[in-house]
């Protein structure tokens, strides 16, 4: 099964979150939202306008925001807190750890502007360690959808999921290629986007589109490379992943995250448990980013279609 995915136009994933939040709130009166002075950037303004009494502006005070959300969850509400990925994780790690995860609170952490593609604001804001931080917390579910439509669906799924969720998305408009309604999107299950017998690319977030383009390009060179969308980093679909590890001669992971503690490490962990394999990891190589346009940054730090193709060709050469 190798469908030809096409984009219906570039759209930012954060807007998918904004749309999903309003929809979820329409269905469930328990949903409330909190923002730390980034309401518009994180696309929570439509919710705030429609449900002013269910929206709490917290100002630039993220630690308090997490605590207030935990309190609202204690009483039975379903709070979505929204801010940039670095303020949503590293800045409030201890608050998430104690008041949310250890306390078992049904809080949803919506993290926008994740990764290098935040762009010109530079390394202070380019969060590349968040997946690792959140994966490590007992009880946390970690979602990293790949486009606008999937971010909307992930938001709706997070609202229905019982327990803490970290929902990661980004800033720039990117190709929107998954269906608006997609029964194959389920928390905790990998999505096989393209079948392939010569190798497999496990990708997450913005890198899924790049993985698809790499697979199509390699197809023209006679290679059949599968593309798996790992939109749920935790709980990880270990059996689903292990099956692809066993059958694929070439294994590549691709993520807009540090090489440590992200998708590549998660897949490697499965490999060590089920079938030890050599895995090539495309990620930021233990360094900070810098200012620049999203495409320039992805090129410079090795995170685009060209680099995925190069990685696969290199592994292929080694195998020969």
């Amino acid at each position: 099964m190798r469908p030809r995915y096409t984009s219906t136009g570039d759209k930012d994933t954060r807007s998918g979150f904004g749309a999903g939040l309003v929809e979820a709130a329409e269905k469930d009166p328990r949903i409330v939202a909190l923002s730390a002075d980034l309401m518009s950037s994180v696309k929570m303004d439509a919710f705030a306008k429609k449900y002013p009494h269910r929206f709490f502006q917290c100002g630039v005070a993220e630690a308090n925001m997490i605590g207030v959300a935990a309190g609202l969850a204690t009483v039975g509400f379903i709070p979505f807190v929204g801010t940039f990925a670095n303020f949503a994780t590293g800045r409030v790690y201890d608050q998430i750890r104690q008041s949310v995860c250890y306390s078992g609170k049904n809080v949803k952490i919506a993290a926008s502007h994740a990764g290098l593609t935040l762009g010109e604001d530079g390394a202070t804001h380019q969060m590349l360690e968040d997946i690792g931080l959140m994966r490590g917390l007992p009880g946390m579910t970690v979602l990293s959808p790949c486009d606008y439509n999937q971010t909307r669906l992930a938001t709706l799924a997070a609202a229905q999921w019982d327990g803490p969720v970290y929902l990661r998305f980004g800033r720039p408009p990117v190709p929107n290629f998954t269906p608006a309604e997609d029964p194959s999107f389920q928390i905790g299950k990998i999505q096989v986007l393209l079948d392939g017998k010569d190798g497999v690319i496990f990708a997450t977030g913005h890198m899924v589109w790049h993985a698809l383009q790499a697979s199509y390009a390699l197809e023209e060179k006679g290679l059949s490379i599968a593309v798996i969308n790992v939109h749920t980093l935790k709980p990880l679909d270990k059996e689903g992943i292990a099956a692809w590890l066993e059958r694929s001669p070439i294994i590549v992971t691709a993520e807009e995250h540090q090489i440590h503690n992200g998708l590549g490490d998660a897949i490697s962990h499965v490999a060590t448990e089920y079938c030890p394999r050599c895995i090539h990891r495309i990620a930021v190589q233990d360094t900070f980013g810098e200012s620049g346009k999203p495409d320039e940054l992805l090129e410079k730090y090795g995170l685009n279609t060209r680099h995925i193709i190069a990685a696969i060709e290199k592994v292929l050469h080694t195998l020969k």
Binding site: V32, H53, R54, F56, C58, G59, A61, A63, N64, M65, I66, G67, V68, A69, A70, G71, L72, A73, T74, V75, G76, F77, P79, D94, Q95, R97, Q98, S99, Y102, S103, G104, K105
Partner: protein
């Protein structure tokens, strides 16, 4: 409940806390003894609450959050003796497989605990969230939260202070356990938070002073005044000038008893000052 009965319970709660800490040779006696009278006043006289069956959401009742979770020995004793869980369970404090964790936790489902606390500065924000939730649900009950003196060093406390005033969280009554002690010494020497009352006023809070938080008539009068004055658009805080280690002479006002268990001889001296007024666990 009459004053002599409250005093009798408070005496036993102090004894419980010291015995619990001594038996496991770990815990925080100083703050637990200092806040014991406040806990007893809240749970046995002031708050409108239902110990059994315990409701984790606290709908339709007053809710209390202990933000300075380390002083939980006497809080656990008050929870047990007011009917949240069996008194005998106090003997499991800080031991393996216990619901009475070293710092309060919800994972083991101990009735009375609604949020994990211990890492400081977080409980005030949580209490504010519960108070907002009660407003959304139209529940007129109050949310009480205790914060420690050293805990007021945490930036999150002041984030929460700003937020509560801005959002007019007036169904919240905070109590600051102002004993002027923290782990490394006197709060005025470690990191001064003076003038404490002026700070809260400047942040937009209603402030009440409780100068004798070990005298039940005064405690109850102040709590009642707090309840009367709440609901008027401002969050309220009671600055309670407690005596750390209250009830055990050699622990009183000595910061070294923040987080240390008494040895055998110290325990004998302490327990001699803490009569068994109700049955020991």
């Amino acid at each position: 409940m009459d004053i002599p009965t409250l005093e009798k319970i408070a005496a036993q709660v102090r004894r419980d806390a010291v015995r619990m800490i001594y038996q496991v040779q770990s815990g925080h006696p100083g703050g637990a003894l200092g806040a014991a009278d406040l806990f007893v006043a809240l749970y046995f006289a002031h708050m409108r609450h239902t110990p059994d069956p315990f409701s984790p959401t606290g709908d339709g009742e007053d809710v209390f959050i202990l933000s300075n979770g380390h002083i939980c020995a006497s809080w656990y004793a008050v929870l047990a003796r007011s009917g949240y869980f069996p008194i005998q369970e106090l003997s499991t404090f800080r031991k393996i497989n216990s619901r009475l964790q070293g710092h309060p936790a919800t994972k083991e489902h101990l009735p009375g605990v609604r949020i994990a606390t211990g890492s400081l500065g977080q409980g005030l924000s949580v209490a504010i969230g519960i108070a907002l939730g009660k407003k959304l649900k139209g529940d007129p009950h109050r949310v009480y939260v205790m914060i420690g003196d050293g805990e007021a060093n945490e930036g999150q406390i002041w984030e929460a202070a700003l937020f509560a005033a801005h959002h007019k969280v007036d169904n919240l009554i905070a109590i600051l356990d102002r004993n002027y002690k923290q782990i490394d010494g006197d709060t005025r020497e470690v990191l001064s938070t003076d003038p404490m009352e002026d700070k809260w006023r400047a942040f937009g809070w209603e402030v009440l002073s409780l100068h004798d938080p070990h005298h039940f008539p005064t405690i109850l009068q102040t709590l009642e005044e707090a309840r009367q004055r709440s609901g008027a658009g401002k969050p309220l805080i009671i600055i309670a000038y407690t005596t750390m280690g209250k009830g055990v002479d050699f622990m009183e006002n000595d910061y070294r008893w923040h987080g240390k268990a008494p040895g055998p001889q110290e325990f004998e001296r302490a327990i001699a000052q803490l009569p068994e007024t109700l049955q020991d666990f």
